[in-house]
Symmetry: C2
Subunit: 419 residues, 2 copies
Amino acid sequence: MPKNAFYAQSGGVTAVINASACGVIETARRHGDAIGKVYAGRNGIIGALTEDLIDTSEESDEAIAALRYTPSGAFGSCRYKLKGLEENRREYERLIEVFKAHDIGYFFYNGGGDSADTCHKVSQLSETLGYPIQAIHVPKTVDNDLPITDNCPGFGSVAKYIAVSTREASYDVRSMAKTSTQLFVLEVMGRHAGWIAAAGGLAADDTNDIPVVILFPEVEFDKDRFLARVKAAVDSHGYCTVVVSEGAHWPDGKFLAEQGTRDAFGHAQLGGAAPVVANMVKEALGYKFHWAVADYLQRAARHLASKTDVDQAYAMGKAAVELAVAGENAVMPTIDRTSNDPYAWEVGRAPLSEVANVEKFMPAEFISDDGFGITDACRQYLVPLIQGEDYPPYVNGMPSYVTLKNAGVARRLDSDFKP
Amino acid sequence: MPKNAFYAQSGGVTAVINASACGVIETARRHGDAIGKVYAGRNGIIGALTEDLIDTSEESDEAIAALRYTPSGAFGSCRYKLKGLEENRREYERLIEVFKAHDIGYFFYNGGGDSADTCHKVSQLSETLGYPIQAIHVPKTVDNDLPITDNCPGFGSVAKYIAVSTREASYDVRSMAKTSTQLFVLEVMGRHAGWIAAAGGLAADDTNDIPVVILFPEVEFDKDRFLARVKAAVDSHGYCTVVVSEGAHWPDGKFLAEQGTRDAFGHAQLGGAAPVVANMVKEALGYKFHWAVADYLQRAARHLASKTDVDQAYAMGKAAVELAVAGENAVMPTIDRTSNDPYAWEVGRAPLSEVANVEKFMPAEFISDDGFGITDACRQYLVPLIQGEDYPPYVNGMPSYVTLKNAGVARRLDSDFKP
């Protein structure tokens, strides 16, 4: 009898993490000789720890195919980081106990740096414990901060959303600038790395002349230089668009968003970086402003996904299963860029020992000298990742995303576990 | 020689106001016997007052066709309300002076209630002054608050954007609710009327079971009842999505957004209603939250426009010219719904005397008894308006919106005018 597989989604979900799930499950279904059932963790790794497994074999081929165009985490995800092996060996042992009880020989973990680390440790410990698990990490993160892989599934679609939204809102403020709004501020995700903020720079190209000022987390905020930059844009163009990363911060490390805002009870700030930046400009330069905070909208926007991103997310899930069937362990499939123009990529692989706990930041040569924009090198990197549209089907004016049955698997252990 | 036409965009722009411009200009080009050139006001009516006209005949047919899928106001818009005739007759006289100087016999004004009023007054005064202008109003407003017409061009696309975004973000929070975010709050436009907020209710339908709680400007905010409603949703579903109108307010009329927030200098609130509502729930019920403020993104989102809306926006522009050619004056084309299922509509007309300064609110029977949701009647009204997708063309991963040349018309008056 072939071993079963376990698949779990980890951390913040994306517009295309379910496309990876689709790649895993569809590919596993084609390898019935090597892989039995695919169980999914209900709410991520928590589902494994608590023996709360979902039997994906209960889902029709159509439902699994629909995952390709359904945003969010179809089985639920969680923010739960397993501690180090020494600190909490019990958690890892519990995972392996559950895997053993359900005859699971493959562990596909779909997430970012933390989950790559967990994946690696499970693989190591399972060997020590004499119940070998092939652990394969499936890359996912909107923050685009995993090493080795050229980019991370999830990022391309956020980048497209932010680039398009910034262009659209800039056209809007350009229309209004004569008598009304002159400043538009959009806050985007990315607490440590400015990849998403950089995508705002794609709003401007040679078809237009939109002045976009970007505040990266990689660049210490300099209020005077920032205000001068905004003023120059409004003087020359009549308006200015600012894309601010949630991670933008002062030289002392304090986030812009934390700028001492207090509610009526004296409680610390309610708002984000966008209103802080907008009000700062208003106070200094007097411009009327509007601001937006995209938050979950940006990472859930499957309606505007990048086709490249969807294809790559699916390919990573598919490759993970193929690597497992080929006997690999403790690896992650990667996206290897082989050409910029025309863009070409292929699937590679990286050992988890080199992936776990390494964060990839924006290279300095991707940020313009003044610190407020992107360079041509950055543009060459980003543009291929937003190529192509991959619209979901619509019914009655709305995207028809799938909600799975998520039938539970009967428990086989009588022990409880409190994560 | 046929008379020239003047076209201007007024107030907040939309994803489809340029589709109306496209309808006006393309139709005028087909009626060269009756209409000479179409001049556009640079930055709206300000362009007429200051004799800053754009010669649209300098634009190619291709550029004009591209207006159909380009959001924002291609000629610039403005927030400039002409005062009453008695208070500032000089402004109206100036308009007519400029129209006369450029041999303009048709005035197409594309906006909401205020511009319908201006349009009406120009028509009246021009007759008094012996230089008759045929003034036709072209309806536009995301707020959907014009009377007589079944709906307003611009609204359907915002509604689609909010409905889709609410669905997508709700799937996201549903994925995360077990260990992380349980509450998602989305702030939407609509200071007086809750039409846009109502569209958030379309996120849920019989394909899913999303708990959406709506805060309408039409319903006085009741904190205890709201918290109880959110708690019930989280108890039953594990999460809750709140759509809050920027116009949501306390019984004393104070907006939720104004809830006493102060910055470090004691200046009044920075934020919007969304962070206030999110923090209120957090404080009372302890739920982790995320919030978003869509702001301009919602009304500029041409990438997700409703095809029904685009078709209607174009049809209103086209009908305006046809009404003018047929000799009509002081009227507005309307969208007349003739059937709900299947949805059918035709172009009607309304006298401006009945349109100007009348605001249409949500009918009470569109809001559920508890005040937090939409009724079936509301759903039947809204669903047809978001039907169909009408994607812009993409080049290199980005929508290829047009930026016009906007060549100026030589001035013929030597008088200046300060609006």
